[in-house]
């Protein structure tokens, strides 16, 4: 149970990569992570922009979009699993309305189940991105936008070309927040599918947690954790380097 140190070479890594469950986990991480991050960023930005149009009931809408964040994950996982259950969830409901050919059974389809996880995660994660983007929008110089409008720049171009670069810091914050959520996401999977059907919705964090705590397989668990961290460095390292070089250049220009 407690870590003991003993050099065993790469044996644990061989076991790890031979495991079909780990392979599926890694694939799922990329599939889930990409769709989730892109969807949350897009949806969060669009909602923030729309809410920033001086709409009525802004506070209420913001609270509604954020509300999934406040509710226990265990219970929302349960409710989503009901909702997505083809027998008595949305599929049954729509079929009863008369659309008998309606199919929506992602949870029972090993190929689609990971997208059900993504859907639930987007539902949960969009609110916080929205509010970060909104905080960013509230910091954008209104005078500048006004003068652009006076110059005849159409609104859609302002929101697709002018604002996003200004919001880069907020987008980066959201990106880190979402990515950290992806890496550490196992509680949502546990609440919704427990990694099933079969092993189709396994993710690395769940793999590591289960091997560490339930199976007492500290070796394979830490090998998995090490790979997760290593891949993070591989992905994030160049990004950080690039930003540092960019900021040096900026300073030099000044």
């Amino acid at each position: 149970m407690l870590p003991r140190f003993e050099w065993v070479g790469f044996e644990q890594y061989e076991k790890l990569f031979a495991s079909s469950r780990w392979q599926v986990s890694v694939e799922n991480l990329f599939l889930f992570g990409t769709v989730y991050i892109v969807a949350c960023l897009l949806l969060g930005y669009v909602l923030a922009v729309l809410i920033d149009q001086k709409v009525r009931g802004e506070t209420l809408l913001r609270t509604i979009y954020l509300s999934p964040h406040a509710l226990s994950l265990v219970v929302t996982g349960l409710v989503w699993s009901w909702f997505l259950n083809p027998q008595f969830g949305l599929q049954a409901f729509v079929q009863e309305l008369g659309f008998e050919n309606f199919r929506f059974a992602w949870l029972s389809d090993p190929k689609m189940a990971i997208h059900a996880v993504t859907l639930t995660a987007v539902w949960r994660g969009t609110g916080i991105v929205m509010i970060l983007m909104l905080a960013g929008l509230r910091g954008v110089d209104a005078e500048m936008i006004k003068s652009l409008r006076v110059d005849g720049v159409p609104k859609w171009r302002i929101y697709t070309q002018v604002i996003p670069p200004i919001l880069t810091p907020m987008i980066l914050t959201s990106l880190v927040l979402l990515a950290a959520g992806v890496i550490n996401s196992y509680d949502l999977v546990v609440a919704l599918t427990r990694g099933g059907p079969g092993i189709s919705t396994q993710v690395p964090a769940l793999f590591v947690m289960e091997h560490f705590f339930a199976r007492g397989d500290v070796g394979v668990a830490t090998a998995g954790a090490a790979i997760m961290l290593l891949s993070l460095i591989v992905v994030a390292g160049p990004l950080i380097l690039w930003r540092r070089i960019a900021s040096r250049r900026q300073e030099a220009a000044q």
């Binding site: 509300s67 349960l78 009901w82 997760m228 950080i240």
Partner: protein, 301 residues
Amino acid sequence: MTTQSRPQQFEGPHGPRPRRVSPMRVVTYAILIAAALFFLLPVYVMIITSLKPMEEIRTGAMLALPQNPSFEAWSIAWSQACSGVRCEGVAPGFWNSVQITIPSVIVSVLAGALTGYTMSFWKFRGSNLVFAILIFGAFVPYQILLYPLVRVYASLGIFGTVGGLVIVHSIFGLPLTTLMFRNFFVSIPTELFKAARVDGAGFLRIFWQIVLPMSAPIIVVTVIWQATGIWNDFLMGLVFGGREAKPMTALLNNIILSEFGERRYNVEMAATFLTALVPLAIYLLSGRWFVRGITAGSVKG
């Protein structure tokens, strides 16, 4: 979406002039309302389920309205549901959670604001590296960090105290709160900061009098983020916190997550809602602080 005028001029019910509703406006509201429905649908299921007796939940349709709505499950969830040997609902945890959450949020948000501020305006040698390491910390599964921290706590003898728990929450919150503040401060014009330094203002005075007042939106976001996370945490509470002062979510978890006991979904849903009321209230009340930050701040500053 095509006008720059103030909201009451085209949307207010007491606007005196005849209004022209532009198509863009209709689309805006349509999308916002559709999104609201998407976010509320599971919430709807939770509320109607909490109002049904178990018999009806077993047999009835999930999306159907309750035949005889009853708040019995709510009262059970509040004061009678079992969470172990005791069966006192989620109520006993309320004040414990408040006592944990308020200091933890204040301390962790301030800590984030201060580090974010330092790393934006008072760069020192290697501050970028410190920042990078900090951000990296956001990605490390907290279970990995938990173990060394537990050892440190044990040797300091602050294990099992609320104060220790506050520090844990601040440490674990630091990467993201720092990131939020730093990336917000990037957009603050440095002229303001430089002017203050010329006036002889020091590190803390600039922070208090210039930077913080301009940061209302990001403070609100950070408070929302931290308050939700800390309010909903129960595992840190179990590991680091007091044995007797259980937070509300620890009780909630025990009510909703029995793996081998019989389930009462109506009580589970009601307990979930009762526990979520505080974060939801924070989201609602944060509304009036969520104003345009920089313009407001620069006027004052």
